[in-house]
């Protein structure tokens, strides 16, 4: 039997401590000022300290109390949904609105375990037309439909 009783708490505690250290390090580069005239680093430093302490408590709780372990991680969804958002950000300008959106919708549809090519293509088609109608035609968002990589200007 492991002495780690609640892996979730241990991980969360470590995460909070790491983030506290990161923020404290960043805050330390800023002028602290005095308590009368607080500098930009003063309040963040206090908060980092608080988060560090809270992180330690969470970590200790992880060794004291039992809790359910983490359930399975939706790797497929996690990776593909993140990719699909990044795709939109990266290719919106070069490819233009319509192709970038199509790629995003299709990639995110791939994230489901129930992915089905025909359904995914259908959703993609519907969403591209619908979004064009609502956002470009209806709300007049200033985004190029077809970008320079595909012969737009």
């Amino acid at each position: 039997m492991s002495f780690i009783r609640s892996p979730k708490d241990v991980l969360a505690g470590l995460l909070f401590i790491a983030l506290a250290a990161l923020f404290a390090w960043q805050a330390n580069l800023l002028p602290m000022g005095s308590s009368v005239r607080m500098g930009p680093g003063y309040f963040p430093m206090i908060l980092s300290g608080m988060m560090g302490v809270l992180g330690v408590i969470v970590l200790i709780n992880g060794f004291r109390f039992h809790a359910e372990g983490a359930t399975g991680i939706a790797w497929r969804g996690l990776i593909l949904l993140t990719l699909s958002a990044l795709f939109f950000g990266a290719f919106l300008r070069p490819l233009g609105f319509l192709p970038a959106l199509a790629g995003t919708v299709f990639l995110s549809a791939l994230g489901s375990q129930k992915f089905h090519l025909v359904t995914a293509l259908a959703i993609t088609g519907v969403m591209v037309v619908f979004s064009w109608a609502v956002f470009i035609w209806g709300l007049g968002l200033p985004i190029q439909l077809i970008g320079p990589w595909l012969g737009g200007y």
């Binding site: 979730k8 708490d9 969360a12 995460l15 909070f16 983030l19 923020f23 960043q26 800023l30 005095s34 308590s35 009368v36 005239r37 607080m38 500098g39 680093g41 309040f43 963040p44 908060l47 980092s48 988060m51 809270l54 992180g55 408590i57 969470v58 709780n61 983490a70 359930t71 399975g72 939706a74 969804g77 996690l78 949904l81 993140t82 699909s84 958002a85 990044l86 939109f88 950000g89 990266a90 919106l92 300008r93 959106l101 995003t104 919708v105 299709f106 995110s108 549809a109 489901s112 375990q113 992915f115 359904t119 995914a120 959703i123 993609t124 969403m127 979004s131 956002f135 709300l139 200033p142």
Partner: protein, 499 residues
């Protein structure tokens, strides 16, 4: 009477054709997302924030408010008919509502929910009209120490009422505060936590953070178990209540309304807590507690009234003090700021049409919901047959377009992707993301008031204790924290949330 003049102004604003239309759209959208599980008001409002730019502030707020309370209605419909609460606030409605449906009383349960909600909504609207202006007057007398103390109380209260570990929730608040401080320091212009990234000079974008954590993070979590929803919708019989049933619901509706109105005002309160509290009270004082869970009509009437009242009165601290009591209100503040309005006590006096227009629209919206929901139940139920794997790519598309259109900046899309992952990781570690969002919104205000308070007190932290209002508020915060950490209370709290 000034109150009636004000309400008349409000109704004249809310009854304009445009505002009626946006109120209707909000209620319809709210019901829609309330019916659909896996899509909540937070994600929807975050998605729609960018669209509200082009609208006048009143119309924008009326629509967003409609989504919030419309979602409460929609959630209860599915809770009753197919035992699937569309929103967290209607979880308890499913307990007895679905049992009633099984016994062929679906119509009565739906009518009870609708009538109770409408009554509670009406009362809460008047409470809002009655109490918000004096509260705003009081808030005008607040100095920096009082504001600081009030925000601390709000943050602490939101933690004590959240489910799950309190220490983790506190850590999430602090993380939110720190993230909220990113960007240029308001006094010196020094960039903070920007990690030398040019785009972070203005800090993390609020919409990107909210959509990442509540939109994308939520979708990824839903993709974990894509079980097929079994659809055994109960037949909706007559919507009429018998005389006997009508008598049975009067008292629970009244109690639920009072309870919900009170809990909604509290920072951290709102719809979900109100419905849970009301259910346990009804069960406790009922002459026949064993009937609960087996189709007790009081178990539908109380919580349904409470959650609607709570949803409505949670606007009070947001509109008068500029302090959000839950993530939806944090988004509303975001919407106001986008419109160039700083939420706070001045809104009541400087923008009376906005303030009273929103209040009046809530009553109209509640009326619309009653008229809209009961005849359209068949349609809402059919909507549930749309499978999630068809739905979520569309949500994803709206998130991407929405977040981009806020600043026409692709960097915000990357930020959203990052916070999607962060949100999912936090949920996997049992850290609730709601306190993070509250902290993020409050962070800059909290620091500003702390700095100002210390400046007037010449660096003496005793200023928070020597001023009576701020001392009281901080004492309340401390008491709240101690009470929740008591072992006996934390045990009952766990049970309450498990129920």
């Amino acid at each position: 009477m000034e109150l009636f003049d004000n309400l008349a102004l409000g109704f004249s604003v809310a009854f304009s054709l445009q505002n009626l239309l946006y109120c209707f759209i909000g209620c319809l959208l709210g019901t829609l997302i309330g019916v659909l599980p896996g899509l909540g008001p937070v994600a929807t409002i975050a998605m729609l924030l960018p669209i509200t730019f082009g609208l006048p502030p009143v119309s924008a707020l009326i629509m967003l408010a409609g989504i919030y309370y419309g979602a409460q209605y929609g959630g209860s419909t599915t809770a009753i008919l197919i035992n699937l609460p569309g929103e967290s606030s209607s979880v308890v409605t499913a307990l007895d509502g679905h049992q009633m449906a099984k016994q062929g009383r679906a119509g009565a349960a739906l009518a009870t929910a609708a009538l109770g909600s409408f009554f509670a909504g009406t009362v809460a609207t008047f409470l809002l009209a009655l109490f918000a202006p004096p509260l705003a007057d009081l808030a005008l007398k607040f100095g920096p120490p009082e504001y600081f103390a009030l925000m601390v109380l709000g943050l602490i209260a939101s933690v004590t009422l959240a489910s799950g570990s309190i220490v983790k929730a506190l850590a999430m608040i602090v993380l939110g505060l720190l993230l909220g401080l990113s960007g240029q320091d308001i006094y010196t212009g020094t960039p903070r936590f920007t990690f030398d990234v040019q785009e972070l000079t203005d800090g993390f974008d609020f919409v990107a953070l909210a959509m990442g954590v509540f939109g994308i993070g939520e979708i990824i979590r839903n993709l974990e178990d894509e079980k097929q929803r079994s659809l055994v919708a109960a037949k909706v019989s007559s919507l009429m209540l018998t005389k006997d049933e009508f008598k049975q619901i009067i008292a629970p509706v009244l109690r639920g309304t009072i309870l919900g109105s009170a809990l909604g005002i509290l920072p951290g309160g709102g719809a979900m807590l109100s419905s849970f509290a009301s259910y346990s009270i009804e069960k406790k004082i009922s002459k026949n507690p064993k009937s609960f869970g087996k189709g007790a009509i009081a178990g539908v009437a109380g919580p349904e009234s409470a959650n609607n009242a709570g949803a409505q009165t949670s606007f009070i601290p947001m509109l008068t003090l500029g302090i959000p009591s839950n993530p939806v209100m944090a988004l509303m503040i975001g919407a106001l700021i986008i419109q160039g309005i700083t939420p706070g006590p001045n809104v009541v006096t400087e923008k009376p049409d906005l303030f009273w227009g929103i209040i009046a629209s809530m009553w109209i919206g509640n009326l619309m919901l009653v008229l809209l929901n009961l005849p359209l139940i068949g349609m809402w139920v059919r909507l549930l047959t749309v499978p999630y794997h068809v739905l979520f790519p569309a949500i994803m598309a709206f998130c991407c377009i929405g977040v981009y259109s806020v600043n026409n900046n692709t960097f915000d899309v990357y930020t959203m992707a990052l916070f999607g992952v962060v949100g999912y990781v936090l949920v996997k570690l049992d850290c609730e993301p709601a306190p993070l969002l509250l902290g993020f919104v409050i962070g800059p205000m909290l620091e500003e008031y702390l700095r100002r308070a210390m400046l007037i007190s010449r660096g003496d932290p005793m200023v928070f204790v020597t001023r009576p209002i701020s001392a009281t508020l901080l004492a309340l915060a401390a008491i709240a924290l101690v009470v929740v950490l008591l072992p006996s209370v934390s045990k009952t709290r766990e049970e309450a949330f498990r129920e």
